[in-house]
Symmetry: D2
Subunit: 251 residues, 4 copies
């Protein structure tokens, strides 16, 4: 049985290198996580255990890809930033996309029992993912601002929504109605006046999302390549401070 006779089919594989020297962002998104969170009774509005599991899976992606220097997660999504000089897997699109997806998914399932030990996984959870290229550092900053602003908007809404339902006794339909058209200020007011919740004192993780950053550690001897470690933060990444303290992120 000659393999060679059929091997011409390999020539249909198209080359797919990503444009050199652009920032690569891969965003992983939970696929049908509304159902997953219901079937496994995730705490609302935020399930601390599930968020920690997301962070764990993201850290595994960063351990697989040394070129990922920053990641941002909220809810059931995570974004990974590859340094612009990355040449891993010859920057082949399908290779990078599929491995990030697989590492994230595998870690999520594998580590589930560590974080949700009392809630056995009922079925295999899945994610989808996409690759986006950014030519300049400004766009990368704006990308992460976009995701963190989204985190804020969603979390404020969800916090108010579930307060109305869980503490205010409203139905979900009523709660949506109550919040319809409200501005941030009004949601803050509802939380404070009706439920004595000071939104700004809620956990940073819920309000800011999770930032995983590959920090450079000054080595003892100045001439060595700096070693790095992955650090989990829940801080503001919209303002300049975070980036100014880490100029190597956007080099």
């Amino acid at each position: 049985m000659a393999v060679s006779r059929f091997a011409y089919v390999k020539s249909f594989e198209q080359p797919d290198p990503l444009l050199p020297n652009t920032y690569i962002i891969v965003r992983v998104d939970g696929h049908a996580f509304h159902r997953l969170s219901q079937e496994h009774q995730f705490t609302k509005p935020n399930d601390e255990r599930a968020l920690q599991l997301m962070d764990h899976a993201a850290k595994d992606v960063m351990n697989e890809f040394q070129d990922v220097i920053l990641a941002f997660g909220e809810s059931d999504e995570y974004s990974f930033l590859f340094r612009r000089s990355a040449t891993v897997h010859k920057r082949r699109h399908a290779k990078i996309l599929s491995i990030v997806t697989s590492v994230f998914t595998s870690s999520y399932v594998f580590n589930w029992p560590k974080y949700l030990s009392e809630t056995p996984l009922k079925y295999a959870p899945t994610f989808d993912a996409r690759v986006v290229l950014y030519p300049s550092s400004q766009e990368v900053r704006d990308y992460f601002s976009w995701r963190q602003a989204d985190t804020h908007v969603n979390n404020l809404y969800n916090t108010a929504f579930w307060a109305l339902v869980q503490q205010g006794g409203e139905t979900t339909v009523q709660a949506h109605q109550t919040l319809k058209g409200t501005m941030s200020k009004e949601k803050n007011e509802i939380l404070y006046s009706r439920f004595e919740i000071n939104y700004n004192k809620l956990p940073d993780r819920h309000r800011k999302g999770s930032i995983l950053v590959r920090e450079q550690i000054a080595s003892a001897q100045g001439h060595n390549k700096p070693s790095t470690e992955i650090v989990l933060l829940h801080c503001d990444i919209i303002k300049d401070d975070f980036w100014q303290a880490r100029p190597y992120l956007l080099q």
Copy 2:
């Protein structure tokens, strides 16, 4: 915090529809499975449990995508054929690639204990994947012939190799040396004369790989759309018989 100010970054997402009316094949491959099989003591040359687990994961991909009508697996790889008329996820490349990868990976990790209960998973196994398009049915047939011919060549080699090592007392270096440059006929001869192994009587699964096919079942009432079920086979798919019996596969 205005999400809208940053939302322009979304415009960098490039459209990626796959050419309409072409056959889509997604091939999933084990990533660093040499190490995985060693760390978890997979039986050589074939680990029945690990192969069954692969089949399970592949079946889950077919349950996720009704357009996958045929799949072929061997060792740590699986290929999925989408019908040419498929419009799932608007044929978006990244969507299809990432979900297939994620479903396969997730199912593999989730179902591991069902098949390798006595060998707990030590770490999260991963896969990579790629998409290839084929414009005509002949190429699709040749693609699957290519993979099955590869299965045969690899399995014959591995069967002889491990017989030399496990039963013949050769080191792995010696076994490679013994087989170097041998033709199929000679490997068969080594197996038969030295180890009384009749290669052609070995399990079909090992020699032919796994075929998952979405079979059409005639419905009771002739006018209904036929219902389907996914069937696992280990038969020849290089010759015409398999395809002639299932004309709907290449329609």
Copy 3:
């Protein structure tokens, strides 16, 4: 001055092979030809000389690319069909697209005086172009049917429109009004009853467009590769006859 220091910029050129074994169609379109036809007083509704010039330019594209076996032209556009097995320029997208565009444009300008000798070209006319891939022969047939049906619809409209203006004394605004919402039958009726024009007896070139086909000529000795010649036709290519007489077109 070291060229080599800067040569890395070449690595930003992305590979762009067209999917193998698909039919390649390149369609060239006049860019701003409304103005061109006005400034050079093209005869309405059809300028025989300008159409012949288009055919000439198209023939030059076929002389450049032996793989182009069929071309169809109407008005200021021309479509070129490459045989599916074509490997010219390694099927590189930009190479094929730019050369077809350039040959067509260059021939159009170069040969203008041969066809419109009494109307010197006032400025450089231009075209744009695109590449479309088709996986199966049915789509190729439908593509050419699409263009020829378009020719018919446009030509019938334009013939009626200019008859109303040139012979009926209507303004262009009135003529558009007269034809608004009319079916083919009514346009035929207007032409016949008011202007004694039998649409079906008008020149085939105007009603059917131009077909350039690379015909196979039986060679004297049966064993030789058949030689070919490019033939200009103005016949129906929607029905089966044209294709059945030339099975090699869609092989």
Copy 4:
């Protein structure tokens, strides 16, 4: 004849937007210009008239595309830089590539008699073209340095080569042999000692190539958008001066 029945073929046209906010460079190259220059007796090593014709065609491309702010030409090639913010034709790849190619080709043929009036064009000359994207300004500078360094290397070689043939009485084979392995310094030395040619005093156009730049002109009223004009230069673009004087080029 229903156009609509066939219109589905249009759905096979794939979207092809170029990544936003990257610098677009389109390079046009003479196709088989070795033959063209021979058949039309171009002066060697440089034909002033043919170079001026190239500049004319390039200027027409810049008149068509307001987003082209810089162009560089040498021999039978020309490179065009689109500002990174360009959104012309929605940045569609085929549209931009084909129109640049067509405008350049058309202008070259149309304007030929203005520059080579005594040498009628014998046949239609053609070009090919490609698009390359650059994410950062450094790469754009290096791209143009690459082309100008190439101009220098080629022109020095050609000048020495044709001096040896035209004035030194060598055959072309001998001249190639004489120059084989020589460094720039040695070629300069051959020119000076044997032919009294001071290479550095040769025309800038030949040594530096042609730069077409869209210069900003300060308007009378300070608040208006600056108007621009296209200026032809033959200066160094490798060093910083050219770019520092025109910061708007790489903005």
